[in-house]
């Protein structure tokens, strides 16, 4: 409080002219991030609602899958289940995708409506009836406010409305408010009418700074995003609130993440607002031309805050506001900024991936399509937010990158490993067994991308007058970062996934190099080269220094020659594919290593003292050029030697080494960055010949080490080809190991049996049953009335026909054994029925199968007194006799909990005899796992095989 406050005055401020100043930069990226965060949260909550309300008819999809021998409790379906899995889950996935999309739209709309509602409530609080106490003579203040607006070019609809708030409105602090699409309001307590003009001008211009930066809307949007994140998920979980244990099992992690997200959003909002207050303070100080004006206002009314309260405080302490330094610029592109961007980008990836996978699963069988498209979207988002911020950061006097890069790594890795609250954790669950490997790989990839982005930003921050060149370089920079980020993350993730599926380093290594021929990533080196070339156009063309040209020429020739020689000197006629595979990839790896040497050498030789970052794009361009030229040289040499006649080899010889160079740059970055930072402290040395010879020698040494096998563990090794072929052969594994049936020729297996012979056939089943199987009493046969009537009629017809057939023996054995997840264990019944004639029951069975695709059978103990069944034909065992396998899946609820009964039934006709084996088990809450279903299948096959051979 100053004496001027005690001595109120309406005197105009004298001696100072108002200045037009530039508006504080708008935080447009916050709108993007908060909208996407809301969309991801909404999609996750909608997915939770979809599950808890069973919008997709989960039981039908589950029944279909289970009856086809596919478990729904697994993170991924078996490779052989593709078409059946897609058919069974088509409707479910489509509904899920549209529900997620609806949720992604609803939550941002809800936030927008709440923003409108909040703005309207403020206007209601400041309704005209409450403002009547404002004395009419204060029109002068309104005129002054208009003059302030005019000074900042706020005219027409852009001009905010001034509201003088009397004590009755309880407004004690000037503020800005607004409605989406409406004119903002600047609300100033009436008390300012009784203080000096300078205080009013300062406060009004501070608020006009917020108006010009449009701070109100993003602040409101983030506010509601924070407050909606948790309740949205809780609302979706209402249907299972009465099952707290199940809710915690399935959604405990989601609830924690939603809570952390909500708090984080509010903390980040507060931190951002503190920065915006400093920007508005500067706006007022510059516009008034009086840096002390704000100090007078702040000194008067500052309130101390506790340390804990400062985390959520939307205003910085008065001391910080009175002495703003350049430190307040460093938040832009700093750790929190980049980490938040990375997390939102990756949450967007998860959301887009889920929707695309659900929608496009039947369009393209390659699951990487949806993943790669989603990654490209996330990379575009990350780049469009981070690259401009880092460019601003690079323009600061002494930019620091440790926090920025750490934020990039943390955000991208944590965002990928997190699940969207409420959404299926399919991806995170899939990678759970190899999470450390995934995190290590992603950390390496994200670090490489962050270094590349900071280097490009440093280059972009250099002044350039040409608008065209500036735009071209920005385009090239964005293209480079998007492609690099997408390729690096996609390559890492798919390589770890490959290692998960086939835990063999040889196969994972083969996958990494094979990505160079991938339909999408084969173009990554070319796109990056083009983008970086545009980046280097930021400045006028200058002739390259001789040392750069020399290094490029020498490494390209040395690499190409070494690669060609490695082939020509070792290739022989009659070599098997495994050896040729190693020779080809070693050729390409040598070209890539030549590019790696060139990139590092150019970076070090071409640097200005201590400034290596700005030279990184040019060094990378040099590396890619060297690799391409070396690839072309070795192709020509090999072609002259009479090899590589296929038309695609040249393209591969250029593209694949380019990809391998990117891999080498990423993997070796921790080492090369240490080397470069250590070397950069030394004075730049001239000596073109020395650099060229050194780079050439390093290329040759690396080539020799590669050929000698010293780099085999990280490049290509003997037996990689065989491992890859073996993995491909596993693409469609057999469903169950089947014991080969070798029918004895000594006896007629189809002869009619008497009771002792049938009993004897069943006597040795324990050999193929689980060790704990116990004989149990045979259950009486029942014939309930099922619906639809056609199914009931078909079932009864089969039963009647079968019972009417004359027989010589009819023996059945029932067993019980412990099986994971079942209620009371699983059961096996095996029977041998010998008829006097050679009958064929399969026509009736097939009729039943057709009529009972979906049916309902009465079961009193279940809720509603029934179970819904699905029956499908299953694969028949490899036997030389006609057989039928039927897979039954019955679903319902038991005391409110989901229940499922799985039945495998197989009948084999062997002449006069019919062998029937049935395995079944009941599951509560959790459906059977794939391993359990495969156990049932294996049991059926082994029992039928045993019985057939024992007749």
């Amino acid at each position: 409080m100053t004496s001027s406050v005690l001595q109120a005055s309406d005197e105009p401020e004298a001696g100072r002219r108002l200045r037009t100043v530039s508006a504080p930069p708008r935080l447009w990226w916050v709108y993007v991030l908060v909208t996407l965060a809301l969309a991801a949260t909404g999609a996750g909550a909608a997915e939770a609602l979809f599950v808890t309300q069973d919008v997709g008819d989960y039981t039908a999809a589950q029944a279909c899958l289970t009856s086809n021998g596919i478990s729904v409790s697994e993170a991924r379906p078996p490779a052989s289940a593709g078409p059946i899995y897609a058919t069974c889950t088509h409707d479910y996935n489509r509904r899920l995708a549209f529900t997620s999309l609806a949720g992604a739209a609803v939550l941002p709309v809800a936030a927008w409506l709440l923003m409108v509602f909040g703005g309207l409530s403020t206007r209601w609080r400041l309704r005209p009836r409450r403002l009547v106490e404002v004395p009419p003579h204060l029109d002068l203040l309104t005129a002054r406010f208009m003059a302030l607006c005019n000074s900042q070019d706020l005219r027409g609809r852009r001009r905010p409305r001034l509201v003088l708030a009397p004590p009755a409105t309880a407004v004690t602090d000037a503020f800005t408010t607004g409605l989406p699409g409406g004119r903002p309001w600047v609300v100033v307590p009436l008390a300012y009418a009784y203080t000096d003009r300078a205080a009013f001008d300062t406060v009004a211009l501070h608020e006009l700074g917020h108006v010009r930066a449009r701070d109100v809307l993003w602040a409101s949007a983030v506010w509601w995003a924070g407050w909606l994140a948790f309740p949205a998920l809780v609302l979706a979980l209402i249907p299972i609130l009465n099952l707290p244990a199940a809710m915690w099992d399935f959604y405990g992690g989601s609830l924690i993440i939603a809570m952390v997200t909500a708090v984080s959003l509010l903390v980040v909002r507060a931190a951002l607002l503190r920065r915006r207050e400093l920007a508005a303070d500067r706006h007022a100080a510059h516009a008034t031309g009086n840096p002390d004006a704000m100090a007078a206002v702040l000194r008067a009314g500052s309130r101390p805050a506790s340390r804990a309260a400062r985390v959520f405080a939307t205003h910085p302490p008065a001391a910080d506001r009175l002495a703003p330094t350049e430190r307040d610029e460093r938040w832009d592109g700093g750790f929190v900024f980049t980490a938040a961007t990375g997390i939102v980008a990756m949450l967007t990836y998860h959301g887009v991936h889920a929707v695309l996978a659900d929608l496009l699963g039947f369009v393209d069988t390659d699951p990487r399509l949806s993943a790669d498209v989603a990654l490209a979207v996330a990379a575009l988002l990350w780049t469009s937010v981070v690259l401009p911020a880092w460019t601003r950061r690079a323009a600061l006097p002494k930019p620091r990158w440790v926090g920025s890069r750490s934020g990039a790594v943390f955000g991208l890795v944590a965002g990928f490993c997190l699940q969207v609250p409420g959404a299926s954790a399919a991806i995170t669950d899939f990678f759970a067994p190899e999470r450390p490997l995934l995190i290590a790989g992603l950390t390496l990839a994200a670090f490489a991308v962050s270094v590349l982005t900071s280097a490009i930003a440093t280059r972009l921050a250099e002044p350039e007058d040409s608008v065209l060149r500036r735009r071209l370089s920005k385009f090239g920079a964005s293209l480079t970062v998007v492609v690099a980020l997408t390729a690096a993350v996609s390559g890492t993730v798919s390589s770890v996934a490959t290692y998960l599926l086939f835990p063999d380093p040889a196969i994972a290594r083969g996958h990494v190099v094979a990505l160079g021929s991938d339909r999408a990533w084969q173009y990554a080196p070319v796109l990056i080269l083009a983008g970086l070339t545009f980046v280097t156009l930021q400045q006028r063309w200058r002739r390259p220094r001789p040392v750069v040209v020399a290094v490029i020429v020498v490494t390209a020739v040395a690499g190409g020659a070494a690669a060609a020689l490695s082939w020509v000197l070792r290739v022989q006629d009659g070599q098997d594919n495994g050896v040729r595979y190693v020779l080809v990839y070693q050729r390409w790896w040598i070209c890539a290593l030549a590019g790696l040497v060139a990139a590092v050498a150019v970076l070090l030789a071409n640097r200005r003292r201590g400034a290596t970052l700005a030279g990184a794009p040019a060094a990378l361009v040099s590396g890619l050029l060297v690799t391409s030229v070396a690839g072309a040289i070795q192709y020509v040499a090999v072609r002259i030697a009479g090899h590589a006649k296929e038309s695609t080899i040249f393209q591969q010889s250029v593209e694949v080494p380019g990809w391998l160079l990117l891999v080498a740059l990423i993997v070796t970055l921790p080492l090369t960055s240490l080397l470069v930072s250590a070397w950069a402290r030394r004075d730049p040395r001239r000596g073109t010949a020395l650099w060229a010879v050194g780079a050439g020698a390093a290329t040759v040494l690396l080539a020799a080490a590669l050929i000698d096998g010293r780099l085999a563990a990280v490049t290509v090794a003997q037996h990689d080809y065989e491992a890859e072929q073996a993995a491909m052969a596993l693409g469609t594994p057999p469903l169950a190991p089947v014991t080969a049936v070798v029918p004895s020729t000594s006896e007629d297996h189809g002869r009619p049996l008497d009771e002792p012979a049938a009993t004897a056939a069943l006597a040795h089943l324990s050999a193929v049953l689980p060790p704990d199987a116990e004989l149990e009493d045979n259950a009486p046969s029942t014939s309930p009335t099922v619906t639809p009537p056609a199914c009931d009629a078909a079932t009864k017809k089969l039963t009647t026909t079968e019972k009417a057939m004359p027989r010589t023996a009819d023996v059945e054995r029932a067993y019980k054994f412990a099986a994971d997840g079942t209620v009371g264990g699983a059961h096996v019944t095996a029977s041998v029925t010998s008829y006097t004639g050679v009958e064929n029951l399969f026509s009736e069975m097939d009729d039943e199968l057709r009529a009972c695709g979906h049916y309902r059978t009465p079961q009193e103990i279940y809720d509603g007194g029934h179970l819904d069944g699905v029956v499908t034909a299953g694969p028949v065992p490899a036997l030389p006799y006609p057989a039928r396998t039927r897979n039954y899946s019955l679903t319902g609820r038991f005391h409110g909990k989901p229940a499922i009964v799985v039945i495998r039934d197989c009948s084999v006709h062997v002449g006069h005899n019919v062998i029937t084996v049935e395995v079944f088990g009941g599951y509560l809450q959790k459906p059977p796992s794939q391993a359990e279903l495969e156990l049932f299948d294996r049991l059926v096959t082994n029992l039928v095989t045993k019985l057939t051979g024992g007749l």
Binding site: M1, S3, L6, A8, T172, A191, E207
Partner: protein
């Protein structure tokens, strides 16, 4: 309005001076504002109306919607803080009994005919009021000079009342 002073003592020139004075708080505040910042009197009238209606003039506006970006600092205009200074000072000097009568009205009491808040003070404690007033004014953001100026005004008004003057 100030009540009639009771003749419990004698002053100079044989005038009987009160040993205890009773002052309406709103009158005391208005006199202080009129002395220190007379231009604020129209605004002070609005503040007084809110205060006597039982509302807290310094209660911060609600920002539940997140759509209000404030300056982050209140303007400690004399009219805004005078009631807080005076009630705090009275509470400190006169204790709970003296303070009870000055507590802010609650909203559920608004319909009652409230007795105007009064300050009942022994004359020999006026100096204590001045000293306490300096402390409270500084607590509310005034610097020492401003706080002293305000306290002197309060002291002067009370002294005039003790001397038989009208508020």
């Amino acid at each position: 309005m100030t009540e009639k002073a009771r003749p419990e003592g004698a002053g100079r020139e044989g005038v009987v001076l009160p040993a205890r004075i009773t002052v309406e708080l709103a009158d005391l505040a208005r006199e202080v504002v009129a002395e220190v910042a007379p231009d604020q009197l129209p605004y002070f009238a609005l503040v007084t109306a809110e205060w006597t209606a039982g509302k807290e003039p310094r209660k911060p506006a609600g920002a539940w919607s997140g759509g209000e970006i404030g300056l982050g600092t209140d303007l400690p205009l004399l009219s805004n803080i005078i009631f807080t200074v005076l009630t705090g000072t009275a509470g400190q000097v006169l204790g709970a009994a003296g303070f009870a009568g000055l507590q802010r009205r609650r909203w559920w009491r608004r319909r009652r005919t409230a007795r105007p808040a009064q300050l009942v003070l022994d004359v020999d404690r006026i100096d204590e009021i001045r000293d306490a007033c300096i402390v409270h004014a500084q607590t509310l953001g005034l610097n020492e000079a401003e706080a002293t100026l305000l306290s002197d005004a309060v002291h002067g008004v009370l002294r005039r009342a003790a001397d038989g003057g009208r508020l």
